[in-house]
Amino acid sequence: MFTVPRLLFLCFAFIALGSAVRMVVAHQVFHAAFWLILSFFGIAALYVMLEAPFMTGLQLFLYIGGVAVLNIMAIMVTRQMMHPRRTANDPLTAALMAFSTFSFILWMILQLPFPNEPQVPAPVGNLPVIGELLVDVNGYALPFELVSLLLFVVLLSVLYLAKER
């Protein structure tokens, strides 16, 4: 029942979920940002347990090194961050919005069929497999290029917005 991997899984899942809850109920936005980082760490640890080192690296690099850094920079340039107590202007609408977003995402996740077996059997060194699939015409070449295009457009529009006029 309680094997070591299972205990570790429970531990990391608890870290991920617990810090996510703490993030939501934190009084200070800055603390919330750090609880979010801890939650990301918990998920990275879960990827380690799944023996997916590349996903772990991506989780660390993109979510902690990218998303969380952006969060913190946004918080740092916001005024009056040191005031702990804050209430929403319209708590009822806020709750409705949060609930509807949550249920929509939950509905979307439940729509996906969960495969019992991996769609592409991964050999031990799975990094070249990911790379080849990403640029393979029969693989994910089109979505990959579309995402690059999207990011390029985002970059250009940010440059346009940030231009001094």
Binding site: Q28, F30, H31, F34, I37, P53, F54, T56, G57, L60, F61, I64, G65, A68, V69, I72, M73, M76, M82, G125, N126, L127
Partner: protein, 428 residues
């Protein structure tokens, strides 16, 4: 006698095997002996940077003192040893006895976590550093160098945590500068890591070392140069030291720390400097490879640390001899020079490396020399375009002078090299 020498020649691997044998005789199960050996191994890995920096802090102080025409730590006190070699120990003991001061209004929990976090981030890199041919590495992760890049962004969080929680204007200014500097220099850093990874065909640190029959500094000098500058900004050393510019904002993000909490930042800074040297040595200088490593694998660690020490000495010379750049100059050096250069270098190198077999170059030395030529061409192109931009800006400003007086249009690369206000150096 010969047996002992053979044992010592691959000490860490043999000692591990011997210990495992002993554990087996004592009736420990295989899994538990693995756990004990792993803990011992990680303690050794952590011990390497900690012992190294006690020496390196002394070296830094001596080198900077010589550059500034001083003697540096020199027989201060009665027991500091020859050439004050143990000055660092005395400093450590002094710092341990000091009081922790927490500013009023500081965010206490984050204030206390930050020094722990900065040390964790500094030590985590050492897991993937290959010290020798086989067995002398914490873990040969298949994402090796990618792990290093991801971990180095954690250093940024310790800066933010320390700077924000201190409730101090200097600290928050330092944190702002540190964040903007590190975030922007991450781009050329990653772009400069890609060429060696491309030539190796693997992200694993051990594979990168094994592929360097000829060190990559020969075939990839331009990416090595970009990486050196980017990593210099990442660890915040002069001339790119704005997060803790101690002539302007006291000590930057760790202004409010005292006692051993300050010590943690100080140690982490030196560990990061040395780790930067180690990573540079692994990527571009051939890592643990050197004469006689095949016969005596333990020598690998020596060669790696020696190379890392030489890179560290370069950082020291910079520290002693360079003025501090202004933050906008630092950022424009990155966005207007390093990023475009790295973006041009990467596809040019990739294409020429693919084309080499078609023009009949197959030997490793031929390949390395051809890539060196390509690098020199790219560097010459960069230098030419810089002078062109400089001329262009000068002509523009002359035209502006005719209509109304305006000193200069924008800081350009030529202006970066000398900055009158910042010529005054710290004297630590």
């Amino acid at each position: 006698m010969l047996e002992i020498l053979r044992f010592l020649s691959d000490f860490f691997v043999n000692a591990g095997a011997l210990l495992q044998q002993w554990f087996h005789q004592w009736g420990l199960s295989a899994a538990w002996s693995r756990v004990v050996l792993d803990i011992a191994g990680s303690l050794i890995i952590v011990a390497v940077p900690f012992t190294a920096i006690f020496f390196l802090i002394w070296v830094t102080r001596k080198v900077i003192a010589r550059i500034q025409d001083r003697l540096g730590p020199n027989n201060s006190g009665t027991w500091a040893g020859p050439f004050a070699l143990f000055q660092t120990v005395a400093d450590a003991i002094k710092i341990l006895t000091k009081e922790f001061i927490v500013p009023i209004g500081a965010d206490k929990s984050i204030f206390f976590i930050a020094p722990i976090f900065v040390l964790l981030a500094a030590l985590a890199i050492w897991v993937v550093v290959p010290f020798g041919p086989s067995g002398m590495q914490g873990a040969d992760l298949s994402i090796g160098i990618f792990y290093v890049v991801s971990i180095s962004s954690l250093a940024l969080f310790s800066i933010v945590m320390a700077g924000w929680s201190s409730r101090n204007k200097y600290a928050i200014i330092g944190a702002f500068r540190g964040v903007s500097q590190i975030v922007s220099y991450e781009i050329p850093q990653v772009l400069a890591i890609l060429p060696p990874v491309m030539l190796t065909g693997s992200l694993s640190m051990q594979d990168i070392v094994m592929a360097q029959d000829i060190p990559y500094i020969v075939s990839l000098p331009v990416p090595a140069f970009i990486f050196l500058l980017a990593v210099l900004a990442e660890i915040g050393r002069l001339p790119l030291e704005q997060a803790e510019a101690d002539a302007e904002i006291v000590a930057g993000y760790f202004t409010e720390y005292s006692g051993m909490m300050f010590g943690a930042f100080y140690l982490a800074e030196f560990i990061n400097n040395f780790a930067a040297g180690v990573i540079f040595a692994t990527l571009f200088l051939g890592g643990w490879r050197g004469p006689f490593v095949e016969q005596i694998p333990v020598l690998g660690a020596f060669w790696l640390l020696l190379k890392a020490f030489l890179v560290f000495l370069i950082f020291c010379f910079f520290w002693g001899a360079m003025p501090r750049l202004r933050i906008d100059h630092i950022l424009s050096l990155n966005w207007k020079f390093l990023v475009p250069l790295a973006l041009v270098t990467l596809p040019v190198l990739a294409l020429s490396n693919k084309l080499l077999p078609y023009i009949g170059v197959t030997s490793p030395w031929g390949q390395a020399l051809c890539l060196l030529g390509v690098n020199i061409a790219v560097a010459a192109g960069a230098a030419w375009s810089l002078t062109w931009v400089d001329d262009y800006v000068n002509r523009q400003s002359e035209e502006l002078h005719m209509t109304f007086v305006m000193p200069s249009v924008a800081p350009e690369f030529g202006d970066l090299l000398v900055d009158g206000d910042d010529l005054l150096q710290e004297s630590s």
